[in-house]
Structure formats: C-alpha cells, structure tokens
Symmetry: C2
Subunit: 200 residues, 2 copies
C-alpha cells in the first residue's frame, strides 16, 4: 500500500475493491465511506469524484457481484455442453455457493439495503444480464427435461427454491432446521425434489 497524496491509477476500481473487502470482513454496519477512502489511501472526500454518494458506491459493489454470478452461469454452458440437467444443477449450486462465500455481498445484492428506486444504469444492466443468463440456462432444459410449462413457471420455481436456500444459508438460518446439513448437500436434495415436480 503506497501512501501518496494522490491516487494515480483507477481510484474508482480501487474503491469498489476496498469496499467489497471491508464489507465482507467487517459487515455492512461497519462499512463507512470514510473507512473505504482510508483503505484506498485517499482523503474522505475523494470518493465523491467517482460516486455521487455512498449508495452509488454500494451499488457498484452489488453490480460486481451480479457480474460474477453471470460469469459463473455462462461458464457452465461450455463446461457441460449437451447436458442441460447438469448445467442447471451446477448453476443453482454456483448461486448458493456464491451466497455462502460472500454472505454480506449477497445481502447487499438481494437485501433491502439498496433502494430499488435509485438503481444506477450499471446495476440495472448487471442485474438484467445475470438474470438473462439464468433464464437461458433454464431454457436449455425445455422440451428435454421439463413438462410443457411456461418458461416463467420453470424459472420462477427453480429460482425461488435456489434463492431461498442461498439466502437462508447466507444468513446462517439453515442451522435452525438441521445442525448437520451443509448447504452443498441441501441444494442437492431440494433441487432433486423440485426437478421431480417439473419433470416431463
């Protein structure tokens, strides 16, 4: 960490990076703009050159999370070509794994911390694209795996189950059901049953 008075590089990216790290290590409550600035080696007013306010910085952190999710989903199409069942299963697994690995960011992405009315274009695009990747994954099972149901029904059912398990796991609330169940095993079983309900 060089401590020059001026940050000669991509300060914007450095701030998003620092905020993401602080978020996960200290929690959302302890994440202040001033601490982020300090971690990036700039004054507390410098972030305002790159973000309108704290909310905008948090949106950028969330957007990065959605892009990671999108990348992971798109990767699976290549890795399991011709096996839509496996693709969908791994997609849901990745969704849960991401939420468990970065619970604070997951809550920021899905949580009620950000105001939906003030979504930046960047966040909006990141959400749309990761969501499109999800729909595309599910679609590859149409006519092969699933009964003739509206795409909307397939996506809604698989997404709800996956999202629910992911957030329960991220919040540590799965332990209230079963102290011995880890999220990896749980998503396997849940998806098995959900697949049964949608199978042709």
């Amino acid at each position: 960490m060089t401590r020059r008075p001026y940050h000669h590089g991509d300060l914007r990216a450095a701030l998003v990076e620092a905020a993401s790290a602080l978020l996960e290590t200290e929690g959302a409550a302890a994440l202040s703009l001033r601490r982020v600035a300090r971690a990036a080696g700039v004054s507390h007013a410098a972030p305002y050159r790159h973000f309108r306010d704290k909310h905008a910085l948090l949106e950028a952190v969330a957007a990065a999370g959605f892009r990671v999710l999108e990348d992971r989903l798109e990767d699976l199409e290549q890795r399991f070509t011709g096996d839509p069942r496996r693709q969908i299963l791994e997609a849901c697994r990745a969704y849960v794994a991401e939420a468990v690995a970065r619970p604070e960011r997951a809550h920021l992405m899905f949580g009620g911390i950000l105001d939906p009315a003030r979504r930046s274009d960047e966040l909006h695009a990141a959400i749309e694209e990761s969501f499109a990747a999800l729909v595309a994954t599910v679609r590859r099972g149409e006519g092969v795996l699933f009964r003739d149901l509206p795409t909307r029904d397939l996506v809604l059912t698989l997404w709800s189950a996956t999202h629910g398990l992911a957030l329960l796991a991220a919040a540590g609330q799965l332990h209230d059901l079963d102290r011995t169940t880890d999220p990896e095993a749980a998503i396997e079983r849940v998806l098995g049953h959900v697949f049964d309900g949608l199978a042709r």
Copy 2:
C-alpha cells in the same frame, strides 16, 4: 402524542413500536436510535435504559416479526382443520404476504443486518417457535400428501421455495422476470409444482 418529560408507561414497547413504524416508512438506513427516541417522546439516551444498544432494539423488532409469523401459522391449524394441504398452502401464502406487506422488517428478520452471533434470548426463542410452527404445519402433510421422505427434506424444499419467493417479492426483484406477475399468483404456481415433486 403527549410530550411529557418522563414516559409513564411501557417505554420498551413504545420504542419497539416506534422503531417498527420508522423502519417501514423510512427504511433501515434512515432508522436511527435518536429518531426512534424522538418519536417516542424521550431523550436520545433513554432507550439505553431498556436496550443495551441499537442492535438489541433491532433484534426486538425482528422478534416481533417472528411472533407475528408464528401466530399466523398457528391460526391456520384451526381455520382449516383436517385439510393439511390447504394449511400448508395458506402458511406459505402468509409467509409471502407478510414479507410483501413489511419488506423492511422481512429483510431485518432474514437479512444480514443483524449479527447472528449476538442473538438475544428473546429473538432466539421467537425464531425457534415460529420455526417449530412451520415444521408442525408441514408434518401434518406427512403420510397423507407427501411421499415417504425425511421431514427435513419436506421442510427444506417447501421452506426454500417459499422463502425465496417471499424475499424476491419483498426486494421487488420479481419484476425482473415478469412485470405482470404478482406475488399472490406466483406463490400459487410455484407451490403447485413443488407439491408435485413431493407428492405421494
């Protein structure tokens, strides 16, 4: 709102009430302990007589939410006696309806705002009891509605799907899938498919 210097009544309850109201109208970010105190007509230091800190007050708000959920679930056993399918369906509907009606509190209950490591006894008990009510509801379908699966599997699958839909709806993220789908109709379809997967 009387404005006496001393609050002669149940200040603790008044603070939880004021905090719940402020939370829903202004959002979690705008919810300060000082504003809660002002709304209850006491000085900013008065809440510390009843709560160790802000976190403890928020826990009390969350606990109230879990108790509401529990009451709603237990109500259904009486209202639809002998119809376990309806009981479970209405339970999931109530879960989603509560999250949609009070999205900010739902995020507080399930969200990553509260630190799981610091759960008060009150909150712990409220979670356990509402969760027990949920398990009891699902159990009434065992041997009648569902295949012979571990209770854990039944609860996990139904709960994940319901929880996921509830939080997606609360966060306004269902709109990204389908602008015309309201949560009421969505939970109906999702649960239909999930039931199919668990049916005997």
